[in-house]
């Protein structure tokens, strides 16, 4: 593509620029949440010209000034700030021509090379020999750093626009990244509870996982450390003990009647298959049977089962979700039926597939998009789906800290454990109610409905009457002025406050970071960051306003505090107040520095109204939800699902559950892309060749639980078009049009949907004679019978006849 030349090449050695790193997955936009720009989606540029390259000024404004300089640098680098004597003094957006000026200021810095790196990169990463007074603002692995690198490339004339396009584009045709996801601690707990048929005490609390963007399920961060491996062992042994104390109920067989060894093998297939969310491979089966035999020989059947169970529960097949797919030959990997079932179940329930989902995976029919979607609907309606929704809300809004935040018991004696529990119950019921009722993001932000125990209602000063649910919560319409929406719930307000007072900073940051998706840097070093001391002569707002008057602080705090002031009508423990001490409440404020949501407001209800109407906030919600359910913070990966999700969210006017179905329908859900696993090689000579073979077969070819005799029918499939082979009978009656759609394909098989359309003027009892490129594994909405080289499909009783101009469909899966 074209090389940018609009910035003149700098003096000096043109060869000294270092090679850029590949940009995929380090994208520039959404990490910073300039959502309006992100709304442009995968194309990353003008809609009507996909090859367009932003001008330098556009690029600077959108990627350098907006996300980086204005928020992270301008706080100090301004005419009055700490860095007023530095070579980078930036103008604020209230000064005429600030973009041009700021662009000019950065160019010489970008072109100044020290060693092989630009001053413009060395300073914010604090790698300059003289240091950076502002400390480390960006690490080199921060996606925003890539924007600065691009800017240097533009400034030094070493920039090719197509690279940027790559960075902004989902270059995977919408497929998800091919990766493993270790079960997070909640998924683990739910999965073992389901395996054992009842909630089980693990006997150990697992080492907390690394948190990324507030979420505890980021796949890149979920690894097994030595400590966690020991904890897994401890838990697995505890659960194995539990299992053998009630051994017979967990056996699919009778060790006396069937023989111990045979029964152990059955147990391994059954329990292991459920634990791994797929049938075991031959190599796996023989490994576990080997362990069983060694132990059983010494200590008998039950001990053998006990240690086998303990091993299965520590196995990678259990601990990792391995929805890796099977290569389709076009660079993608399509999920196998068992992988689809697992992906769907963890998406919606945070748990392994239940028996009916497993059955649909075993016979392959889950690969039928209609079946998959019907299952998605079924699981969404399942009461277990609620826990996953609440978990997202907890992590998105930081509500999971409610139990831990400390409040001064002298100031707030009323906030006891039971009130905290009731606050959590209130927020959870509210979120669940909005979600399950088909509610929207706007409802979440503005609905005055709530759920309170009488005790909590009294605490808030709210009247509550009516029928209580089993835990004592009553549906309440909150009185006007007493707050509405999740932002004014006690749980939200209490987690975002200080031990002795409200906190405009914490509450403002909540809005800025979690609803506008703009991340704020920590205060730079060398500034006085002490919180304003409690002073009875001043209101909280006055204390914070004074505190932030300083020009060094104002750069950032103008983005935070005016949002936080909206909440001043609520104290540190979530109660509505009309006075702050003796001071009247001023809860007016302003949203600043957004792409399209700026505006003034008085009180949190008006703020919530502005947020609810904001396109940016909707895009931010989609981003937050994606980070959670996809378990990734990789902007390149997130971009691959974003278009479908944003479209669905927009079309449904922000309906929360619309995202789940949109994701299930998307290619991201079914397809994976990634480097092809290379074979071995580095793993020592020749050991375990058996496992290579079996691991390849661990998915699709097992879709009927049986990997045998699959191979030979492949040749017959080449003809593809089924028309001329076989007998004289046509493939379908006259007036019937047959369309075959391959829904998923992997090396060992495929699943297809066939649409039968009646183009005539009278009802037709249809049939379809197809030359299948493999052995039929199963079919649905149809009855199949072999007929020479072809297979005859006719409808079931309910779809055997098609009305004029109507259609029906059926599906099948094949093994080659």
């Amino acid at each position: 593509m074209k090389t940018m030349t609009s910035l003149s090449t700098p003096p000096g050695d043109p060869t000294s620029s270092r090679p850029r790193r590949p940009l995929r997955g380090r994208a520039l936009l959404l990490s910073l949440g300039f959502a309006a720009a992100a709304l442009a989606g995968c194309n990353g540029g003008d809609e009507d010209e996909t090859t367009s390259c932003p001008s330098d000024q556009e690029y600077f404004e959108r990627h350098v000034w907006g996300p980086v300089l204005s928020t992270r640098c301008a706080g100090c680098h301004n005419a009055e700030g700490l860095a007023k004597d530095s070579r980078m003094v930036l103008w604020g957006d209230d000064q005429e021509g600030y973009i041009e000026h700021n662009m000019e200021v950065t160019l010489p810095l970008a072109r100044e090379l020290i060693g092989d790196s630009s001053l413009f990169l060395l300073k914010p990463s604090n790698e300059h020999a003289d240091g950076h007074k502002g400390g480390e603002i960006l690490t080199r692995d921060n996606p925003e750093f890539a924007a600065l690198e691009q800017w240097v490339a533009r400034a030094t004339g070493t920039y090719a626009c197509d690279e940027e396009e790559d960075a902004l584009t989902c270059d995977a045709n919408g497929a998800g990244a091919r990766r493993v996801r270790r079960l997070d601690h909640r998924e683990y707990k739910q999965s073992v509870d389901d395996l054992l048929g009842a909630p089980v005490e693990l006997g150990v609390s697992f080492a907390p996982d690394n948190v990324v963007d507030g979420y505890t399920n980021n796949a890149a961060a979920l690894k097994v450390s030595g400590l966690l491996a020991e904890q897994y062992r401890e838990a697995a042994e505890t659960m194995a003990d539990v299992l053998v104390t009630d051994l017979n109920s967990h056996l699919p067989c009778d060790p006396v009647g069937d023989g111990e060894e045979a029964c152990a093998a059955d147990f391994i297939d059954d329990f292991g298959g459920r634990a791994f969310r797929r049938p075991l491979t031959d190599a796996e089966r023989s490994r576990y049977l080997g362990l069983y035999s060694e132990v059983a020989e010494e200590d008998g059947f039950a001990e053998g089962i006990r240690w086998t169970t303990a091993a299965i529960l520590q196995a990678p097949g259990f601990l990792y979700r391995t929805e890796l797919g099977q290569a389709t030959g076009d660079g993608n990997y399509a999920l196998t039926p068992h992988e689809l079932a697992s992906e769907l179940s963890y998406l919606i329930l945070g748990a392994a597939p239940d028996a009916s989902l497993r059955a649909l995976a075993d016979d392959g029919s889950i690969a039928d998009p209609e079946v998959l979607e019907a299952e998605a609907e079924r699981l969404l309606a399942d009461p277990r789906a609620e826990a996953n929704v609440l978990r997202f809300a907890d992590e998105w809004l930081g509500l999971d800290r409610l139990d831990l935040v400390t409040r001064d018991p002298m100031l707030y004696p009323e906030l006891d454990e039971s009130i905290r529990a009731a606050m959590k119950g209130e927020a959870h019921r509210f979120v669940a109610d909005v979600f399950a009722g088909g509610g929207s993001l706007s409802d979440l932000l503005t609905s005055s409905t709530s759920f309170m125990t009488p005790e909590l209602a009294t605490y808030y000063g709210q009247s509550a009457s009516g029928d209580a649910d089993p835990e004592g919560f009553i549906r309440v319409e909150r009185s006007k002025g007493a707050g509405a929406g999740i932002l004014t719930h006690g749980a939200t307000l209490t987690t975002h406050a200080l031990p002795t007072s409200s906190s405009p900073i914490h509450r403002g940051l909540l809005v800025r970071e979690r609803f506008l998706c703009q991340h704020m840097p920590p205060p730079p070093p060398s500034v006085d960051a002490s919180p304003p001391p409690v002073d009875p002569d001043l209101s909280t707002r006055e204390r914070y306003s004074q505190h932030s008057e300083d020009a060094t602080c104002a750069g950032c705090h103008q983005l935070i505090d005016p949002l936080g002031f909206a909440f001043e009508g609520f104290d540190a423990v979530g109660r509505h107040r009309v006075l702050d001490g003796v001071h009247p409440i001023d809860d007016s404020g302003e949203i600043l520095h957004t792409a399209s949501s700026d505006g003034t407001f008085t009180g949190v209800a008006e703020l919530a109204g502005l947020l609810a109407a904001s396109e940016e906030v909707h895009a931010c919600y989609v981003d937050q939800w994606s980070r959670f359910v996809l378990g990734t913070a990789d902007p390149g990966d997130l971009a691959c699902a974003r278009d479908e999700l944003l479209d669905a969210f927009t079309e449904s006017e922000g309906r929360l559950d619309s995202l789940v179905l949109a994701l299930v329908r998307s290619p991201y859900f079914r397809l994976r892309t990634g480097e092809i696993a290379e074979l071995p090689d580095d793993s020592g000579s020749g050991s375990d060749t058996d496992s290579d073979g079996s691991s390849d077969g661990s998915g699709g070819s097992d879709s009927d639980g049986n990997a045998s005799d699959s191979g030979d029918s492949g040749d017959s499939g080449d003809s593809g078009d089924s028309g001329d082979s076989g007998g004289d009978e046509p493939d379908a009656p006259e007036g019937i049009e047959v369309m075959i759609n391959v829904d998923s394909m992997w090396p060992a098989g495929e699943c297809d949907t066939v649409t039968i359309t009646n183009t005539s003027g009278a009802a037709i009892t249809w049939y379809a004679l197809l030359d299948l490129p493999g052995a039929l594994v199963n079919n649905w909405n149809s009855i199949a019978s072999a007929e020479g080289d072809r297979t005859r499909f006719v409808g079931e009783a309910y779809n055997a006849s098609v009305e004029p101009q109507q259609s029906t469909s059926f599906g099948f899966c094949l093994e080659y």
Partner: protein, 433 residues
């Protein structure tokens, strides 16, 4: 046996050298990286408490040997172990400031791949280089470090750049991990361990299978898993307990703010016992984390520690509260050091403290300024003769990487730099005896 051999070959082949190496090559390992001769410590313990300090209330008065703790100052509770201390003031973290930067640089000195320390934290580097034949290469104990999960605020130990080592915050789990195998006696323990080792064999095969299905981007996850299994296996090696089995600690709620002192005390006791039983030679105890929200309510203080740490001098009562909280941490340090001083060196002369180096580290200097200049360190113990305690030394403007080099050398290692060598190499002059 052939099977086990194949698996170890596999681990080695995968490049899982760091932790597997001490296990695989225990006997064959050349010890060239350890300095010859005496005068080195047997054990290293890192003790962390958060949120910087107020230098005016921390810095001792007097001179090198006749240093004094002003009444009411932060270090005054160390008076009783004064003769065991080497107080080091004035050091800067180069290339780092602020909470997160300080937390990351404190034990790494901004190291990266290609540097001598490879970007590891001090404890992990020493553990790797020592390669001691103990059940655990290192132990990381925490006191309410993880309520926020793992991130650049809550972690200080790094096994590689960007790779956190997670501390164990739960005393009950620490106990079962250290001593659980021995509760039923040595014979039962040996059988259980053999079974567990057998399961680990199987898991290594399974992890290898999954690893082969992955592309290069994803393989490091399984590499980490295999390394974790190697650590588990190391913990299963060895014979009997070799010391008295301690009682299990009372049940505590690890993240209850008011339980902070109790959890901390149990963790310190468990750690001292683990060291006495020679379960490890390198350990850390991390009290909360930078930006700690811990409220020292047991001192009658109701503000969070982070807020306290940023109070400026105009708020006299607030600063006094912060100093009180810091004095409380000094008492904990004195308790732990005193415990080692009261324990005879197992199988040797003197006390455990004589052969131990305990490092009290913080992540910032003056917390009110968010800077990592003049970061305070307190060393305790004789370090096997490497240190001659009872001194206060000041190294204004020097890189704290040099202190980390000194500590490595106290542990008998020979590295000349720690972290980014651009900030300085060699040990602190005049620190060793």
């Amino acid at each position: 046996m052939a099977r086990t051999f194949g698996r170890r070959e596999l681990i080695r082949g995968l490049g899982i050298g760091l932790v597997a190496a001490p296990f695989v090559d225990l006997l064959a390992r050349p010890r060239s990286s350890r300095a010859a001769g005496g005068g080195t410590a047997t054990r290293l313990v890192v003790f962390f408490s958060p949120n910087g300090t107020v230098p005016a209330h921390w810095t001792p008065g007097g001179g090198e040997a006749d240093f004094t703790f002003a009444p009411g100052s932060i270090l005054e509770p160390l008076e009783e172990i004064r003769d065991q201390l080497t107080i080091v003031s004035g050091l800067d973290f180069f290339g780092a400031d602020n909470h997160e930067g300080g937390m990351a640089a404190m034990l790494t000195a901004k190291g990266a791949v290609g540097h001598e320390s490879g970007g590891m934290s001090l404890d992990q580097y020493v553990a790797k280089e020592l390669a001691a034949p103990t059940r655990f290469a290192s132990l990381e104990l925490g006191v309410q470090t993880s309520a926020w999960g793992g991130n650049n605020q809550t972690r200080m130990s790094y096994s590689a750049p960007g790779q956190f080592v997670t501390p164990d915050d739960d005393p009950a789990h620490v106990y079962s991990r250290l001593f659980g195998d021995f509760v039923g006696g040595d014979d039962a323990a040996a059988k259980i361990k053999a079974r567990r080792a057998r399961v680990v064999d199987l898991l290594v095969d399974e992890a290898g299978d999954l690893r082969r299905r992955l592309g290069a981007e994803e393989r490091p996850k399984l590499d980490a898993h295999l390394e974790a299994l190697a650590q588990v296996e190391q913990g299963l090696a060895g014979g009997g307990l070799g010391c008295a089995l301690p009682d299990a600690p009372a049940a505590l709620s690890p993240y209850d703010n008011s339980a902070f002192p109790d959890v901390g005390k149990v963790q310190m006791d468990l750690l001292a016992t683990a060291l006495a039983c020679d379960m490890t030679r390198v350990a850390s105890i991390q009290w909360s984390h930078t930006v700690s929200p811990m409220v020292p309510s047991w001192l009658g203080i109701s503000d969070g520690h982070h807020s306290l740490s940023h109070i400026d001098d105009s708020n006299v009562a607030g600063v006094a509260n912060f100093v009180a909280a810091e004095r409380w941490f000094a008492e904990q340090f004195a308790y732990f050091v005193g415990k080692l001083a009261a324990t005879p060196e197992p199988g040797g002369d003197g006390t455990m403290l004589d052969n131990t180096l305990v490092l009290w580290a913080k992540e910032m200097g003056d917390s009110r300024a968010h800077v990592c200049k003049g970061v305070p360190f307190v060393l305790a113990g004789g370090a096997g003769g490497y240190l001659s305690p009872g001194r206060h030394l000041s190294f204004p403007g020097e890189s704290h990487g040099k202190l980390l080099v000194s500590i490595c050398q106290a542990m008998g290692l020979t590295n000349e730099s720690f972290g980014d060598p651009a900030y300085g190499t060699g040990p602190l002059s005049g620190l060793s005896a």
